[in-house]
């Protein structure tokens, strides 16, 4: 563009977290030219490219600049800064004056604007820290799956929503799992699009309804038509539910350029600067460089010498043992000789199709053999990893150990005295505490990928650094960026900030290396390092990176640990699987089950995953995949929780191996009629239908409250409880928005939404239970969590947000109920229901007495069953799993069927409410624990102590994501259970979606450790399972 011409034109620049955009407008505001560049943190380079394309900024008549990064460049560019959202709205009002709502998705942010008619009171909302519903999430997954632009441009919505909306990292894990279980890419990306929309509605709209016409801006909307479809689908549904006339949902041309255009307009109209440039709100001192001491240099030399870059041995003998690790990010295959030494390996990224990936690895091994003029003679096969369920049948594996055991086997072969195995892989972190030849305790990260290899790889790619250069460059840095710990998305934001602040790529890489041990030991593992053993072995692909290995060494050495590195860290799982297979085959003494390379290569496989493969036997409605393999008579089923869904046809009957499940019993007892309604009370034929959300404190007080209402004459048909939670229920309601509390709190909105959709419900009973009556004593208080107690108010606030009224006319009864105050409780209940039902005070008192009797009956029955289950288990030398949980975890939609899954594995389960109480002294909390004020915390601490003191009891800790109450006792629970020298299963951070990927690993590892514990610690029959026979040769 010529400079004379440019002098009459206006330049707008938008520099965000991922891209830099520039536009040229004429005096009339017409768009004449534009350019877009991904900057990858190299802002100046991107600006230079834009200049080269459009002309130097100083040649234009005026310049406007916007964007999260751009506004800080205002002085340098001699440009007028304007906030990107105000800039975009300026253009919207100019070009689309009838639009009422605007949604803009950027790289790291999301915005929603409710445009006011007077153009003064526009309500502008931006996401806070989390980038869950933004382009960052989409970019990650598009890159991970290698999706092409053409394919994305043609994609239309299909399938169901099966992807977590809450977090981009969680969503990525779900997408990969969906694919690995037979879902199509179309289904997976459609689910992701819906999740993005849901997340933005929940976080940004917070109860307000975007009115049509709706305009969608930003790069993701411009390039992904499927997103527009998802928005249209969701908004049309919401409009229908809220009585809003439907309208258009559209993406305009140049949807990603509106902020830049607005910046140019701002400059063109000579408006004053509209943006305040704030200083940095925090500072972070950098960490030291990784190689800042001679000691570190010596450690690096030692680690380097431990690593083997390739097999170091010729095969001893012709017989080879195959091991396959079908992980979610990479698939590895190894061949070991008779001594267990590595002969050959194959390694590649997972494509989401574990069967094809397995075939490719085998083909590569075969190619290796042919290259040496030999035929592969495989005499045993073992398989492990997330995809093992699928691959096991294809291979004909002799053993399929869960990957924790595979790593244990491999680690013991390297260091028989190892105390702690640290496996940092692609998608998770596993820390295994070893005792003898079994796993004494273990920790597995949840979906959060902050401490993982896949995060490092993605970050390196974003910096434009090939992975093979990561370690040398990180090691060369004299200082390191200090990343936060805990969340990969926040670390991504940190990365952008560090670039903006002038840190070099090498310093950022060094910081990323440091982030691994900091995340593992400060975020994933609640146990202090001082309480773990001394000899640590590093495995997992991330530790192949010497910068990461050195960071681990330095961190652990400061805590006086001995640190060694597995010679083939990325292959440890596959090697362990191979050893397990060889030992299993040797123990059987029969020919291997391995089907042979030819059969594997030519087998036809069909995987089905659709609504018809979903199991409908219970509320969990497990989404299964059916695998039909040529040559196998039966259909393999994957994805079921219990035996009822284990076959394609399914069955209603439990198998005899299904252990007692008192959680399911508790769920039934809570809501059933335990006592007949007393004679002589009020009788009603017709009355208001009372809707009660089946949430929160109702899971503790349902017997009392329901029997109270029945005793007041409310017929059963006039009590409408919402169903148990399910993904469908949750997603239907959560789009009407709320704050970001814990998952059980978010569920309240969905349950109330369900009740409001039942036209016969005219009263909503949402008690605010402030205090619980619990058996535990000695604590300062037994208050409900404030989020639980306030849930009626936060829910109705969200529901009133849009119009100031509830969506339809319904009477809300939300009394504050303190269960420890008999007089107050009676007064509140009478105040709530007396006038409504036309009953007397005496009626209410009698009804409350009846309710209390029912509540006592409930507890008595539950504890009676609990005592019986424990006694039977003790006699059989078996352990019973006690769920340390809060009352609402009884809801299968909240606990995600964990109790059922354990019972299906032969482990009896009961909740802490079913534990026999014991002596008064044993019920009393002491010491610092006496300061507990929360009922759930008090119960968990008491139950943990009971478990620790009772040999036949083991603990399963359940906790919901963002449960602040649980966080405050996490350390105490870890100390109590850790000192008990028995396995414990920790399932923290449960959220809206079932953690399919990691749940089976955790459950199988726990059950294996449990069986070892039973064998060594509980008296019983000699032939009970001891340690896995494959662990030692």
């Amino acid at each position: 563009m010529g400079s004379a011409q440019a002098n009459s034109l206006f330049l707008g620049i938008d520099v965000g977290s991922t891209t830099a955009k520039a536009v040229v407008l004429d005096a009339g505001g017409r768009l004449l030219a534009h350019a877009i560049r991904r900057h990858r943190g190299q802002i100046q380079d991107a600006l230079a490219q834009l200049s080269a394309s459009l002309g130097p900024p100083e040649s234009f008549r005026a310049r406007g600049v916007t964007g999260s990064v751009g506004t800080s460049l205002a002085r340098e560019l001699d440009a007028t800064p304007v906030h990107e959202l105000e800039a975009a709205v300026q253009v919207v009002r100019r070009l689309h004056p009838d639009v009422r709502s605007v949604v803009e998705l950027g790289g790291q942010d999301a915005k929603l604007v409710f445009l006011a008619e007077d153009a003064v009171d526009d309500d502008m909302q931006m996401n806070d820290r989390c980038a869950a519903g933004t382009g960052a999430t989409l970019d990650r997954i598009i890159g991970r799956l290698g999706l092409e632009g053409d394919w994305l441009a043609r994609l239309t919505l299909e399938g169901d929503l099966e992807v977590a909306a809450k977090c981009g990292v969680f969503a990525e894990t779900d997408v990969v799992n969906l694919l690995e279980r037979g879902g199509s890419r179309e289904q997976a990306f459609s689910a992701l699009a819906r999740a993005i929309v849901l997340q933005n509605l929940a976080v940004l709209a917070r109860g307000r309804v975007p009115r049509p016409p709706v305009l969608l801006l930003g790069g993701p909307h411009a390039h992904l038509p499927v997103l527009r479809q998802a928005w249209a689908e969701a908004l049309t549904s919401i409009w229908g539910r809220r009585g809003v006339s439907p309208g258009s949902v559209s993406v305009p041309p140049h949807a990603q350029l509106y902020p830049a255009m607005g910046a140019a307009l701002h400059a063109a109209e000579a408006r004053p600067a509209l943006c305040l440039t704030l200083g940095v709100l925090k500072t972070r001192e950098p960490l030291p460089g990784l190689l800042d001491s001679s000691e570190a240099s010596r450690a690096l030399t030692s680690l380097r010498s431990a690593l083997r870059s390739s097999p170091q041995t010729r095969a001893q003998g012709a017989a080879l043992h195959l091991g396959l690790d079908a992980g979610s990010t990479t698939v590895k295959a190894v061949l070991l000789d008779e001594r267990g030494e590595l002969v050959a390996s194959a390694y590649g990224a997972s494509t989401g199709d574990p069967l094809e990936d397995a075939r490719r690895r085998l083909d590569e091994l075969n190619g290796w053999a042919r290259g040496r003029g030999r035929e592969l003679s495989i005499v045993s096969a073992g398989v492990t990893g997330y995809g093992a369920h699928f691959v096991e049948g294809l291979l004909g594996a002799d053993a399929a150990p869960v990957e924790t055991l595979a790593h244990l086997i491999s680690a013991l072969a390297v260091d028989p005295q190892v105390d702690v195995i640290v496996d940092v892989g692609g998608t998770d972190v596993k820390v295994l505490e070893v005792e003898g030849d079994s796993v004494r305790d273990f920790h597995i990260s949840n979906q959060c990928s902050a401490g993982l290899g896949s995060f490092l790889a993605a970050a390196a790619e974003d910096l434009g650094v090939p992975m093979q250069e990561f370690a040398p460059r990180a090691l060369s840095a004299s200082r390191a960026a200090r990343f936060g710990v805990g969340c990969a998305v926040f670390m991504d934001t940190d990365r952008v900030t560090f670039r903006r602040d002038g840190l070099s790529s090498d310093e950022i890489l060094a910081g990323l290396a440091w982030s691994i041990p900091r995340n593992v030991w400060q975020f994933v593992i609640p146990t202090p390092l001082s309480q773990l053993g001394r000899r640590f072995l590093l495995t997992g692909g991330a530790h192949r990176n010497l910068a990461v290995a050195l960071a681990q060494w330095r961190y652990l050495s400061e805590h006086h640990k001995q640190v060694a590195l597995h010679p083939h860290p990325e292959l440890a799982g596959a090697m362990g699987a191979a050893l397990a297979g060889s030992r299993a085959q040797a123990r059987r003494g029969t020919r291997t089950r391995f089907r042979g390379l030819s059969a594997i290569a030519h087998s036809r496989i069909q995987i089905r995953r659709d609504p018809e493969t979903r199991c409908e036997r219970c509320e969990l409605r497990c989404q299964r995949s059916f695998l039909e393999l040529e040559g196998l008579d039966e259909t393999l089923v994957v994805g079921h929780t219990c035996e009822r869904g284990a076959t394609a046809e399914g069955t209603q009957r439990r198998s005899h191996a299904h252990a007692p499940d008192l959680i399911s019993l508790e769920a039934r007892l809570l809501f059933q009629r335990l006592l007949p309604t007393p004679e002589g009370g009020p009788r009603r034929m017709h009355g208001p239908v009372i809707g009660i959300p089946r949430v929160m404190a109702l899971y503790r007080s349902a017997p009392l409250l329901l029997h109270y209402l029945r005793a007041l004459g409310v017929p059963e048909e006039d009590l409408r409880l919402s169903p148990f939670s399910s993904p469908e229920l949750f997603h239907s309601g959560v789009r009407f928005g709320a704050n970001d509390p814990c998952f059980p709190a978010k569920l309240v909105l969905s349950h109330v939404d369900w009740l409001l959709a039942q036209p016969e419900v005219s009263v909503l009973f949402m008690p605010s239970v402030t205090h619980a009556a619990i058996a535990v004593r000695g604590c300062a208080d037994t208050a409900s969590c404030p989020v639980v107690a306030a849930s009626p108010y936060t829910t109705t606030a969200a529901m009133r947000r849009d119009t100031g009224e509830l969506p339809r006319d319904v009477q809300v009864i939300a009394p504050s109920l303190g269960m420890l105050d008999p007089e107050g409780l009676e007064a509140q209940l009478f105040s709530a229901f007396g006038p409504l039902l036309g009953v007397t005070r005496d009626d209410s008192r009698r009804a409350l007495a009846h309710g209390r009797a029912a509540q006592r009956r409930f507890h008595h029955e539950l504890r009676r069953h609990g005592a019986r289950v424990i006694a039977r288990a003790r006699n059989a030398g078996r352990a019973v799993a006690v769920m340390l949980m809060r009352p609402y975890h009884i809801d299968p939609g909240v606990c995600h069927g964990v109790p059922t899954a354990l019972a299906a594995r032969g482990v009896p389960v009961l909740g802490l409410s079913a534990l026999p109480l014991g002596s008064s002294e044993s019920l009393t909390l002491r010491g610092e624990q006496a300061f507990v004020t929360n009922s759930g915390c008090a119960e968990k601490l008491w139950a943990a102590r009971r478990v620790a003191d009772t040999p036949e009891l083991v603990a399963v800790e359940l906790g919901s994501f963002r449960c602040g109450q649980d966080a405050s006792i996490l350390g105490a629970l870890s100390d109590i259970l850790g000192g008990a020298n028995k396995p414990a299963l920790r399932l923290h951070d449960l959220d809206e979606d079932r953690p399919v990927a990691t749940l089976d690993v955790r459950l199988d590892t726990f059950v294996d450790a449990l069986r070892s514990y039973e064998a060594r610690a509980l008296p019983g029959e000699e032939d009970r399972h001891r340690s896995s026979p494959e662990v030692r040769p």
């Binding site: 906030h83 925090k282 704050n739 306030a790 108010y793 606030a797 969200a798």
Partner: protein, 413 residues
């Protein structure tokens, strides 16, 4: 009685040092825990299991730092202030962290916050001087806040304030009357050059006491940042927390319906009145005589249609009441809620209710304190401040209206 040093921390500047000085005046060895800075935060993150709230992380980290700096073991003065929330369980975290660090000899000293304990403390010889220390802190902190947007050299202002804080601490340690000590320092900012008078938006900060009063990263340096962005800042005094404790003690015990005895209610009301009287005296001495101590009953009345005052946790209904009071007074153009990360009552309850309660009549923004996600946070704040500034300017140009409440001149400071 133990003679080990009492460590005071977690109230922020200048409260920690003033309270420590007041304790020393009573013959008790006392010092501060040190700043609640990034170092303290990182130490807390390393020491505690994940999911803790920001105040737990900051205070644990600062406590560990102090416990391992070579000093003789002391006793940390702690509060169980947040009731049914988990602040009460910080002790579990402190004990564990100290034990892991090999510093189990460090003790924890509890302030008894029951109604009986408050009454006893208020009526003791120490009660008045300890209260005065906190009120002096309120006066100094408020004067500094008012001056920041209006002086040319903020660094010089803050250095001067730091010196005044030390002088006041010394005076309190010497047993001098708090009011007199303040009067003696009245002119401390007078010679600092001021900026020309101009219209500035007013930002009402709300939040839990820790995020409101503890300076530095615990509150994202927001008062400084806002002043640098040419905005005035108002926030309630720390004395409101004390008034809230008296108010709680007047209510039926949480979870109970039985009201306290009339006599006790009377005693507590007298204490509140005494607090209010003393507050006014100290604020006038500190040249911020119009600094208000909100009435907790009034805040409860404002909040009650949206959140019953019987709901109890942390600051309970107070945050909601403060925001609605800001709407009622019509002085602020923005309500900014500083959320300590993980503060359940603040983030998960009050922030969920406030948008509906304000109903668009007063802009509202919540910023969470963790140190993460900086870019989006700055952007959101810049957006809201921009519109607040325009509102203030439009109000100053309005043909009618109280000049004191529309684009007003800088407050006396």
């Amino acid at each position: 009685m133990s003679t080990s040093e009492i460590w005071v921390g977690g109230l922020g500047w200048p409260y920690d040092e003033l309270l420590a000085a007041s304790l020393r005046a009573r013959g008790l060895p006392a010092s501060t825990l040190g700043p609640m800075d990034r170092d303290a935060f990182d130490r807390g993150v390393a020491a505690l299991p994940r999911g803790q709230c920001a105040p737990a992380l900051f205070t644990t980290g600062a406590l560990l730092r102090r416990a391992t700096d070579g000093s003789a073991p002391g006793r940390y003065l702690r509060l169980h202030s947040c009731g049914p929330c988990r602040y009460a369980l910080f002790g579990l975290g402190y004990e564990r962290a100290l034990s892991v660090a090999g510093r189990s000899s460090v003790g924890l000293l509890d302030v008894e916050q029951s109604p009986e304990g408050l009454l006893a403390l208020a009526e003791s010889e120490s009660g008045g001087p300890l209260l005065d220390a906190l009120l002096v802190g309120d006066a100094l902190a408020e004067r500094l806040r008012r001056l920041r947007p209006h002086v040319r050299d903020v660094d010089a202002l803050e250095a001067r304030a730091e010196g005044v804080s030390r002088a006041l601490a010394q005076a309190l340690e010497q047993g001098r009357d708090a009011r007199e000590a303040l009067v003696a320092q009245t002119q401390w900012p007078d010679d600092l050059p001021r900026l020309p008078a101009r219209v500035l938006p007013m930002v009402q900060l709300i939040g839990e006491p820790f995020s409101l009063h503890v300076d530095g990263p615990a509150q994202l340096n927001l008062p400084r940042v806002l002043a640098a962005a040419n905005a005035e800042v108002t926030l309630p005094p720390l004395a409101l927390w004390i008034a809230y404790q008296f108010w709680i003690a007047r209510q039926p015990a949480f979870g109970q319906s039985r009201k306290p005895a009339t006599q006790r209610v009377g005693e507590l009301r007298r204490l509140e009145d005494a607090l209010r009287t003393r507050f006014g005296e100290i604020m006038r001495a500190g040249e911020v005589g119009d600094y208000e101590l909100p009435d907790v009953d009034h805040l409860a009345d404002l909040a009650s249609p949206h959140l019953p005052s019987g709901w109890r946790a942390g600051y309970g209904h107070v945050e909601l009441g403060l925001a609605l009071r800001a709407l009622e007074l019509g002085r602020a153009q923005l309500v900014l809620s500083i959320k300590s990360f993980g503060c359940l009552p603040s983030s998960s309850v009050v922030d969920a209710i406030l948008p509906a309660a304000l109903d668009g009549r007063l802009p509202f923004l919540a910023l969470e304190v963790t140190g993460d996600g900086e870019a989006a946070r700055e952007s959101r704040l810049a957006l809201r401040l921009g519109s607040a500034r325009r509102m203030a300017e439009a109000a100053s140009l309005a043909p009618s209206g109280d000049a004191a409440t529309t684009g007003r001149a800088p407050r006396a400071g």
